[in-house]
């Protein structure tokens, strides 16, 4: 089974219990304005170019069959239109200035990488976490990874925005110990405006997981000037209260790591704000736990 993976991050300590390896799958149905993994949106491999690393050797221009890289006056130009992401330029670039985000890998290859930390998982109760993009967007591949992980007796987590086919969610629940389920906006209008899709399907999937007695942690990005409003904070609290499968709520303050990645993809970041104040988040945590009766913390 083949899928497109854009990163495999080992020694991840904040994406589930114990020591974990996070596998990032490419492709996402949402278009959140504050996206912190912009290279995870497109399903296909993409060229990333970092001018800071370029030593202007010209090798990429020579390698590119479509002439997307060019040099003028010692400066490197790269035109994205017409580029099919074949990666020949990245292969020759000595300095790592041109790279490909997204690699076609089969299940065994991913699992081989994941299992390099097998003994650390056993010692710590850790395992594999699927993330993205939206990991369930490549549904079949995600399921095959989860099944393989379970065959290897390691714990599994899925970080999902919840926007996926019901069958995929249902099947994934069989092989997933913990879901980290995003809750980004309250109400279809707000959700559509901030994330590009409505919330209906997401909430249906959350109900579905509750029906299956899955273990769910609600993950809520808090973005200043976007969803940092009282109605949404209440929305988080009531959702946490009403859905029985939610064990805990994590507030995730916005961070700026996505901006430089967007630049390397030749995109302007749609949102360029500051992380919210700690004190305010703590206040939210208090209110959410109070209203929902469930633990809430800042992650």
């Amino acid at each position: 089974m083949l899928g497109t993976v854009f990163n495999i991050q080992r020694f991840s300590l904040f994406d589930g219990p114990g020591v974990r390896t996070v596998v990032f799958l490419k492709g996402c149905p949402l278009r959140c304005v504050w996206c912190h993994n912009p290279e995870g949106i497109d399903r296909n491999p993409q060229i990333m170019y970092d001018p800071k690393c370029c030593i202007a050797c010209g090798d990429c221009a020579e390698a590119c069959l479509k002439h997307r890289h060019f040099f003028a006056g010692g400066l490197h130009g790269y035109v994205r239109e017409g580029c099919d992401g074949c990666g020949k330029c990245a292969k020759v670039c000595p300095a790592g200035a041109v790279t490909v985000s997204g690699q076609l890998m089969d299940t065994d290859a991913v699992m081989a990488e994941v299992m390099k930390d097998g003994s650390a998982y056993r010692m710590s109760g850790g395992g594999m976490t699927l993330s993205g993009g939206e990991p369930l967007y490549q549904g079949e591949f995600a399921l095959s990874l989860l099944k393989s992980a379970k065959e290897r007796k390691i714990t599994t987590c899925v970080e999902t925005c919840g926007y996926a086919k019901a069958e995929t969610v249902k099947e994934a629940a069989k092989y997933t110990d913990d879901f980290y389920f995003d809750y980004k906006a309250t109400g279809n209008g707000m959700h559509k405006r901030l994330c590009g899709v409505t919330q209906t399907l997401i909430l249906e999937n959350l109900s579905l997981l509750c029906g299956l007695c899955a273990r769910v942690t609600l993950r809520c990005p808090i973005v200043d000037g976007m969803n940092d409003i009282p109605e949404h904070i209440e929305g988080i609290a009531y959702t946490a209260r009403d859905y029985s499968c939610i064990k805990e709520v994590h507030l995730e303050p916005y961070h700026r790591l996505g901006i430089s990645k967007a630049e390397k993809l030749g995109q302007a970041a749609a949102y360029d704000g500051r992380p919210p104040e700690r004190g305010r988040l703590e206040e939210y945590c208090g209110r959410i736990s109070e209203l929902s009766g469930k633990p809430c913390r800042i992650s």
């Binding site: 991050q9 080992r10 020694f11 991840s12 300590l13 904040f14 219990p17 114990g18 020591v19 030593i55 050797c57 090798d59 000595p94 300095a95 790592g96 390099k116 930390d117 003994s119 650390a120 010692m123 710590s124 109760g125 850790g126």
Partner: protein, 772 residues
């Protein structure tokens, strides 16, 4: 605090100990100055008691005069008892001559400043003090390399430093505490009767008696001093304290200790006489006394006894204490209440001393792991952790019986040895593998002396048709330099042996009395040699890069590479980027890169293991150098791993700074693939973790599991430094704000701001891409 396993509470010092602590603080100065400061208190009027003895005993054999000189220098040092302290004894000053940590008596040249002697008399005296001196070593070296000139070239190239320098070892505190000092005399008599071979042997045993009697006299000196102070003291509590000290010192001056208070006073006596060297498994040998005092009561509480010994170690900087691990008899967990108590006291002292290591094995209790990670999370870089699996395997592989191997401890700069039974010669020499690689690249010549060839002739790099052909050249050079290196190490040991450098350790090291042979001449049960190794990761990465980019893919020609290296990559940035980014590097769990590191390290340590030291056992590997990696790096040209000339070679066993980019577990896996068990002498790995990461108890559990996993899957020694990367960077700019930021460097913990910029940079670059 009643439960020493708790991490949410801290150990509180008793009011008396809190006063002692407050008293010690102002006496503590930066590490290097500590010894001098206290010793200045008792400068004996410019006299040199060491030399006095040799002058007074013109006809005595060297070993007898030497023993007397040691004793005299202790007994002429005034007894200093600080207010409120329960445990007494300070080190003696560094006289112009001292007996320890060298090839013989340090400062013997001061003989030539002695007035009223003819040159001939001075020569005689000098030869008596130093039967074998440095000129012996130099002559041997000249012979070895054919000429003085060749010898100078080798030393100028900084390929190695041979001949040994100090040799930390841990004396047998079990023997001391089980026998007491009078019991030691009986032991000496018993073996003297058995080995009544000749006058030299009789002199040897007599020298041992002189040392032991000296220790008794020194304790009585303190006993009298305390009694005097008690007499003058008006305050009833203090009077009682001094009377207790007087009684305690008088008791252990001859008899074997019964209570913990007695045991720690006797233990400290040997520790200071042993020049504050390493203390071994203190939680094990003090445990019976702890149990006794806990059950039957003691003059001071058990907490005060352990606090007192820790304070002494803190103030005078004894090197290393080891906790936990397995029991020798059955391999079960040896951690006890004392292990926790020692660690809690260290945690409450919160300084760079005392330095502690905890031995980790499969059944190390979770509470102990929690305490260790809690200490790290508070910004301490102690304790270091050591793997029982790896260390014990390494020791049994070279022939140590399992029961002895299980008693190992760490000492010095994280070396490993069997306490009370060995002289592992730490360190017999240091060796820079990267320099040999450089010489192999140049067909046997160094870049500093391109017209001269000292070692064997091997092919120029450009003449090599295949990678294996080049590797063979490297191997040939490595074999040659290993051979000359161990030869010179042996000569250094001969010098130490002839000079009886360590008479205090001798009676307390198993084997010496039994055989009638001193500590440095092969007397101990175990006499392995230790080769501190530098430069393996950059050498391995260079070889990998050459193999892949020059020989396999031919992306860089041999000629271009040679030109790029000799230009220090100036005008060759593209080649440098290729070398950096297109060849895998050690430290990323990449099999190709890691296999090369295994190959290089195994080659070198196996080569060392072909030679036996003159003390009697084979040379083994070790790697706990940081500053060595920096100093050796300065003498190096550019390397094919993309490293510029003069940059550090990397510290100890870890990847070259910045080369590991796949996270901590990948780095640990890479290092664990190395044959670290062959580094019996001890192989340190430095890991820097941020305080922020460790502040979360759940994350601490994961870190503990990661470390334990490393310990069980091939890792040997790890020292964790905790800090925020921002802290470190800020500390470079504003040292005044970060005086308390503790980092661990190679074998020692120190304030970050006291380090040189290059060492600081190297620590900062160890961040493994982790976000702070």
């Amino acid at each position: 605090m009643t439960d020493y396993k708790r991490t949410d509470e801290k150990f509180e010092f008793s009011p008396r100990m809190a006063r002692v602590k407050a008293d010690i603080m102002p006496r503590l100065l930066p590490q290097s100055a500590r010894e001098d400061t206290v010793c200045n208190l008792c400068e004996p009027g410019g006299r040199n008691p060491f030399l006095d003895v040799f002058l007074e005993m013109p006809d005595a054999p060297h070993v007898i005069a030497h023993a007397n000189a040691i004793v005299r220098s202790w007994l002429t040092t005034p007894a200093v008892i600080f207010p409120d302290e329960a445990l007494v004894g300070i080190p003696r000053p560094r006289y112009p001559m001292m007996e320890h940590f060298s090839w013989g008596i340090v400062g013997a040249h001061s003989v030539y400043q002695t007035e009223g002697m003819t040159k001939e008399e001075q020569d005689d005296l000098y030869n008596r003090i130093n039967p074998l001196d440095w000129t012996y070593f130099c002559k041997e070296a000249d012979l070895l390399f054919g000429s003085r000139e060749n010898c100078d070239i080798v030393s100028d190239d900084c390929i190695f430093s041979a001949g040994g320098y100090q040799g930390h070892t841990v004396p047998n505190y079990f023997t001391l505490l089980e026998n007491g000092l009078d019991g030691m005399l009986e032991l000496i008599d018993k073996f003297a009767a058995r080995n009544n071979r000749d006058q030299a042997t009789r002199d040897f045993y007599e020298a041992n008696r002189i040392i032991i009697r000296g220790m008794s006299d020194w304790l009585m000196l303190y006993s009298h001093k305390a009694a005097e102070l008690a007499k003058e003291e008006k305050d009833a509590e203090r009077k009682k304290q001094n009377e207790d000290i007087a009684a305690n010192c008088a008791f252990v001056a001859h008899r074997k200790p019964v209570t913990l208070y007695q045991a720690v006073q006797l233990m400290w006596t040997l520790a200071v006489w042993d020049w504050c060297d390493c203390l071994g498994r203190a939680d094990q040998y003090l445990y019976p006394f702890y149990l006794y005092s806990k059950e039957h009561g003691d003059v001071i509480s058990v907490e005060e006894s352990i606090t007192s010994i820790m304070f002494k170690i803190w103030e005078f900087g004894a090197h290393n204490i080891t906790m936990g691990g397995v029991k020798p008899e059955d391999g079960t967990d040896a951690a006890n209440e004392l292990s926790y108590m020692f660690l809690q006291i260290l945690r409450s002292i919160h300084d760079v001393h005392p330095r502690m290591a905890v031995r980790i094995h499969e059944n190390t209790p979770d509470e102990l792991m929690d305490l260790i990670t809690a200490m790290w999370s508070e910004g301490m870089s102690d304790p270091t952790v050591v793997s029982d699996v790896n260390a014990i395997k390494g020791l049994t592989d070279i022939g140590v019986p399992l029961e002895d191997a299980r008693t190992y401890c760490t000492l010095g700069c994280q070396e490993i040895e069997i306490p009370g039974k060995s002289n592992f010669g730490c360190e017999d020499g240091t060796f820079n593998v990267a320099k040999v690689f450089e010489i192999a690249m140049n067909g046997g010549r160094s870049i500093k002396h391109p017209d001269k060839r000292v070692g064997p002739v091997t092919k120029e790099f450009t003449e090599c048709e295949t990678f294996e052909e080049f590797f063979d050249s490297f191997k040939t050079q490595l074999e040659y330099y290993t051979r000359v290196f161990v030869y010179l190490c042996d000569r250094g040991q001969e010098m130490r042996g002839a000079n009886f450098a360590k008479l205090v350790k001798t009676p307390f090291t198993d084997g010496c009395l039994e055989k009638g042979i001193p500590h440095d001449c092969g007397g101990p049960v175990y006499n392995y040699g230790v080769v501190e190794t530098a430069g393996v990761p950059p050498t391995a990465d260079s070889l990998t890069a050459i193999k892949k980019l020059v020989f396999d893919e031919k992306r860089i020609s041999k000629e271009t590479l040679v030109a790029a290296l000799s230009a220090n990559f100036e005008g060759y940035e593209k080649e440098r980027q290729l070398l950096l980014n297109h060849a895998p590097k050690f430290g990323n769990d990449n099999d190709e890169a890691d296999a090369m590191a295994v190959r290089v390290l195994d080659l070198f340590w196996t080569e060392c293991g072909k030679y036996k030291s003159v003390r009697g056992d084979v040379y083994t590997g070790a790697c706990s150098l940081l500053t060595g990696g920096i100093a050796y790096g300065r003498s190096m040209g550019a390397m094919p791993d993309g490293r510029f000339a003069g940059e550090p070679l990397g510290n100890s066993m870890g990847p070259r700074p910045g080369a590991d980019r796949c996270g901590v577990t990948a780095m640990l896996n890479s290092v664990a693939k190395l044959p670290l068990h062959k580094g019996v002498g001890g192989t340190t790995l430095n890991v820097v973790l941020t305080v922020k990461l460790l502040s979360n108890p759940d994350i601490r559990k994961s870190i503990a599991a990661t470390v334990k996993n490393y310990m069980l899957t091939g890792g040997q020694l790890a020292q964790i430094t905790t800090a925020n990367v921002e802290d470190l960077i800020d500390a470079q700019e504003h040292p005044e704000r970060h005086g308390d930021l503790i980092v661990r460097v190679g074998g020692f913990s120190t304030q970050f701001v006291q380090l040189g910029k290059d060492v600081q940079d190297e620590i900062i670059s160890r961040y493994n891409g982790e976000t702070a």
